[in-house]
Amino acid sequence: GCSGGSGSGNTTGGGSGGYSIAFVQGVAGDEFYISMQCGIEAAAADAGATVTVQGPAKFDPTLQKPIVDAIVASKPDALLIAPTDVSAMQAPIQAAADAGIKVVLVDTTLDNPSMAVSQISSDNEGGGAAAFDAIKAAHPEGGKVLVVSTDPGVSTTDARAAGFEAAVKNNPSFTSLGVQYSHNEPSTAAEIVTAALQKDPDIVGIFAANLFAAEGSATGVQQAGRQGKVTIVGFDAGPAQVKALKDGIVQALVAQEPATIGKDGVAQVLAALKGEPTEEKIQTGFTIITADNVDGEGAKAIYQSTCK
Amino acid sequence: MTTAQVPVLEARGLSRQFGHVRALNDADFEVFPGEVTALIGDNGAGKSTLVKALSGNLAVDSGVVRFDGAVVDMASPSAASALGIETVYQDLALAPHLDPVQNMYLGREIRRGGLAGALGFMRTREMQAQSRRAFDELGATVRSLASPVGEMSGGQRQAIAIARAVHWASRVVFLDEPTAALGVRQTKNVLETIRRVRDKGIAVVFISHSMPHVIEVSDRIQVLRLGTRVANIRTADTSMEELVGLMTGAVTKEGRL
């Protein structure tokens, strides 16, 4: 099987009916997108299509646009893309559709997704709310909670934080200490969490909106010697996060369904290419994984790390 | 020693300390128009420091500077330039990446007429021609007007700095060891140029360790020792031996001058 990061080489479509599909990630090297890539590659292999995977170094439309432009120039049959901004990526993706490329939006979407044959999205706000539920389950008595995010302006993590904050507001026994930004550095997240615990030693829960925030938060809690007293809920369920969960560093994970998104995306693309009807909008759900269900019910939700 | 004339530039009681080193220690100094004043002293006596202070390059701890009799604040090199004071520094102060013409005209470019001039375009051709003339006058061996001065020989750079200062000075010109790197012929030319400049009524301050040159060209000699002026004499009234004695402290003149 292929290891996570490797896309297959580029082959132009045609030949014996094999389509060429390009997949543009929101950010390269993120396990969420790697799992999605696995789903895509598996589905494409079944259909005899080839897949090229590209992604920007950061979740940043100014870095993603040149990649999309180059992809369009390389003329694939179809494009699966996780737009990094609802408006910034509008025009480049429109240009792809105008060039006759079938477009499917995965995970994130656009202001006006009408050019896409389908959009398959996950519910980040709902995920944020679910993360709060996980903290509430561990601390029914209530208390102070903190959000550690990456950078302001990243749509997915902003939506997670917003969903979490909204849920806190609806629950008077909890107080939110607001959102702190770790700039995607575990060490900054650790600094923030240690300082926050110094200020408010009675924090009961931390929602870490992405992997590094979770890792840094866990380190910070450990440095402050408060492991076990603070519930850390992370987002996404890659192998690294699951190990953290099993090690007791993180108490709960909100898992999306990236592989399903990828599989569905390929199905929609193939349908469109063959002129079959497509589904305009598909919404995928999420699962909360805790130590209790990680080996049972929750195991199915764990992201694949190696594509079979 | 006394002149009825007002000195064009006059310093009284200048002091400047660097860490523990007192580079200037209550130093006086004055120069008169149309005179060549030699400033001499041992290494580290404070000559260059004095020049820097009088050309707006160094703030002093105490002391006053008068120009045409009025107290001035020599706050920056531009202030000194505005008064018509030009300087050849011992550590040349040319921009090494620029060519001789650009260095010659830096800060004083000839602009084009009309809009182009207002936008900052320059008459390169004209500046080149004039620079060439100025270098020729000094007999400088600047081989190329288009290569950066950083690539030129020590003497070539020295000549450019001198040409520049002489070209722009209208009242006072300081020459801090101008002939140190120059060839025999170039040195002769520079000494001649000094006289010519003096004859235009400009005050020239000539710093040198070469006593023959000092005696040949100067009208008046001021001696610095350990940051203090220890003598101020007419060249005609002194001798090489006395000067050397004054610089090293073997001879002292009575009274403050």
């Binding site: 990061g5 940043d60 120039a73 | 505005a82 990446h97 900052g120 081989r143 190329s144 012929r185």
Partner: protein
Amino acid sequence: MIVKSPVTETVAIGTIDEPRTSFVGRVVRAQAFQIFLVLLVIVGIFSAIAPDTFAQWSNFRLIIQNASILGVLAVGMTYVIITAGIDLSVGSVLVFSGVVAAITMRALGGEGWGVATIGILVSIVSGLAWGVVNGVLIAKAKIPPLIVTLGSLGMALGLAQILTGGIDIREVPSVLTTSIGYGNVFGTIPTISVIALVVIVIGAIVLHFTRFGLYTLAVGSSEIATRRVGVKVDGQLIKIYALSGALAGLAGILSLSQFSTTAIAGQSQTNLNVIAAVVIGGTSLFGGVGTIVGTVVGLFIPAVLQNGFVITGVQPFWQQVAVGAVLITAVYVDQVRRSAAMRGNSQGLWRKFVSGGRRG
């Protein structure tokens, strides 16, 4: 044994090597030209590999379009680096200016040119203001440029986030998006690239032919010498950082036009990318030398590499490795060729390998 002859000047001035060389000869010897050859080789290789996808005007058009915003920033950065300074704040100032302009335009409402013009001016003025602050702190307070612009990087970004509450503004007058962001001149040349080209051409003319450019080079060559001849060095430095800021402001409105969002989380790599372009283009971080043309070429080398790698299907992780390796190689080749030109003989590259690169 001794023969007397009349005294002659040792060397007449300017007789030995006045630029008698042809225009072509001078171009070939120009430093920016060396790196341009490297770029041509890179383009040539990709064109050979992917003639019908890479080597298309439609593709070059997009490469140029994507490099335009960086090009505007790089002009200002070239001036800054020529003075031996650095401006880390350009990315943040770009974001800040875009945010202020977007807020202003949203408050005014409307989609027409009137609002857009105000937005453009507001953006440029916001950038200019940051540039002036940087310049004053560097020139007057004598704080190292790295520290000043690192500080204003954080401050501009923080203020942009405060102004927006961290949420991108996406209401941008449609005239900006349609005419500047995605508009074309002569049907096929992106408007945004035309704007960048105008900035580049003016930047190059000012640098190489006017007093302002001369003072920039002089300050970088020797700040103390320039100060001593009476040039107002502080003022010049402030103007240069102000220029860099104003161009970041212009880039802010261009970015807003192109992406129709303030993208406050973006631009985190912008400063390093722009600095790299300037240095690849032959401008020395120690000041005194540099050309705008070189900078533009330096901008296209990573841009073309990235595009070419995506088109030829190189995997993302390998792309980073390859871009790094090509960067180093490009600058090395440029450097060897340049020092060969200096020595006045042309077998320099070969000689360098043989002699082990001894300085000369």
